[in-house]
């Protein structure tokens, strides 16, 4: 059996805490926007924006970002189909919070930052992740982390969300469980 790192209630509480941390650090919603990285970060960005909006009584713009065209591993890894990038607002002078589900090598975040910089000139970019599993290959850190989980390289962290028809939960899969 895969090890459950977070159940539905814990996912909810973690996101609530992260939303409060974001408001505290950015001192309100002025110029704030959230950009979820396809595919895992998009629903999380929407949830965080909703929570921030409820607390602050303001609408926080949310975008989605596909990083396929900015990856450094086009020849190494089989790529999934390209998803849509939809950022229906201007990024100039904004406080952009990038949102992803699992923070691993840091390469996706590097790609996401390059993509954002090609689309505008934000005042700052910060990073919010639900799970930080370690094994960084680049000097990148998260500004907001839901949970730090020590993992080995062969393991896999899976974030399941209600928006995809699953029960909210985060699982840690061993190498045997991945191949089996």
């Amino acid at each position: 059996m895969a090890k459950k790192l977070l159940d539905a209630k814990e996912v909810e509480r973690t996101l609530t805490r992260m939303s409060h941390e974001i408001i505290e650090k950015t001192k309100g919603t002025e110029g704030l926007c959230l950009v979820g990285i396809q595919r895992g970060g998009v629903h999380l960005a929407q949830r965080l924006a909703r929570k921030i909006g409820e607390t602050e009584g303001a609408e926080v713009p949310v975008g989605s970002l596909d990083i396929s065209f900015y990856r450094d591993d086009i020849k190494i890894r089989r790529q999934p189909a390209v998803s849509k990038t939809e950022i229906p607002f201007n990024l100039d002078e904004k406080k952009v919070i990038l949102v992803d589900d699992v923070f691993f090598t840091g390469r996706s975040i590097r790609a996401a930052m390059d993509a954002i910089m090609d689309m505008g000139r934000p005042a700052m970019i910060q990073l919010a992740v639900l799970i930080d599993r370690g094994h960084r290959e680049l000097p990148i850190r998260a500004d907001y982390a839901g949970k730090n989980v020590p993992t080995s390289l062969g393991e896999r962290v899976e974030v399941l969300l209600a928006e995809e028809g699953e029960e909210d939960s985060v699982l840690l899969l061993s190498p045997e469980e991945i191949t089996g």
Binding site: D66, S68, F69, Y70, R71, I74, K75, I76, R77, R78, Q79, A81, V82, S83, K84, T85, D114, D118, M119
Partner: protein, 309 residues
């Protein structure tokens, strides 16, 4: 995906739809202020054109540049060919220079297929004789899908010189697979009866009958450089019989789109008021060509990565 894009004949509908989906993301990139992505940084693309072409070559060149590749253009008949170098030797030389993708246009059918078998680089067919022009078909399918939001069950008319048209052939292969109902119209001298035997294809000799309720009308360029063999009497007569006028357009659905692969012969296959009219998507086809060619190069490079593990 495969290493080469040689024709629509061998493509599956899944491959076609994947390319079109990726192209839609590239089209978004082309709308930005910074119209360039680092996707294929460091790769080399060579345009090897043995037949005059400005539009297609420019489109491939710009698409490759938008992907951050380095691009070299060889236009023929190049000096090496004049010096007697064989086609294959020219291609091997280009590959030895470090080409990752070679884009070939040639007046003989089958040249890209022959070269693809000898090269490690990806080969993209940019038009081979009267055989195929696959990226044109892909950009046409992309335009139709974008405008009509579906392909299944659409009624599409292709009018003109089907016999010499690699655009028509690639479109027929492609759109058949996407469930489009195809009608071919043209003078019998330029529309061989063999086309009638393709499943899902109907041949009309009466243009007005064929245009009825059409969702998509594709006018082919009358290839004046390939004529002079008595296929039709005069260009005036051709326009009268097979040219698309406002009056004939009215027979199609009111929301029908009018397409043309360019370059257009105004007043020969299409009236100016139709080419510039509200139903025309001819200039959008050009824009979409960039996005589609970016998607093709992206997927071909990715496919080579998969094979190497």
């Amino acid at each position: 995906m495969r290493k080469d894009l040689l024709g629509m004949k061998e493509m599956t509908s899944e491959e076609i739809m994947l390319l079109l989906k990726t192209a839609s993301s590239f089209k978004d990139v082309l709308k930005r202020d910074i119209k360039k992505v680092p996707t294929l940084r460091g790769r080399t693309v060579v345009n090897l054109f043995f037949e005059p072409s400005t539009r297609t070559r420019t489109s491939f060149e710009l698409a490759a540049k938008r992907l951050s590749t380095d691009v070299i253009n060889f236009s023929g008949p190049s000096s090496s060919i004049l010096k007697g170098e064989s086609l294959l030797d020219t291609a091997l030389t280009v590959e030895a220079l470090g080409a990752d993708i070679i884009i070939i246009r040639h007046s003989s059918s089958g040249v890209p297929h022959m070269l693809a078998g000898h090269l490690r680089a990806s080969v993209i067919n940019a038009g081979d004789g009267t055989n195929e022009h696959p990226t044109q078909a892909l950009l046409d399918a992309f335009t139709i899908l974008e405008k009509k939001e579906r392909t299944e069950g659409l009624k599409m008319v292709i009018v003109g010189d089907i016999l010499h048209s690699r655009v028509a052939k690639s479109n027929i292969y492609c759109l058949m697979k996407l469930g489009v109902e195809l009608r071919l119209i043209g003078p019998s001298t330029l529309l061989p009866p063999a086309f009638e035997e393709i499943p899902g294809v109907k041949v009309f000799s009466d243009m007005e009958e064929g245009l009825k309720d059409a969702d998509v009308i594709m006018m082919l360029r009358l290839q004046l450089e390939r004529q002079g063999k008595g296929f039709f009497p005069t260009t005036e007569e051709y326009f009268r019989e097979w040219g698309l006028t406002k009056k004939k357009l009215a027979l199609a659905r009111p929301d029908a789109i009018v397409m043309h692969p360019g370059p257009m012969n105004r007043g020969i296959e299409i009236a100016s008021e139709v080419a510039d009219g509200t139903n025309s998507v001819i200039l959008e086809q050009v824009t979409n060509g960039l996005a589609v060619r970016m998607a093709v190069m992206y997927h071909l490079e990715q496919a080579k990565g998969e094979k190497r593990g």
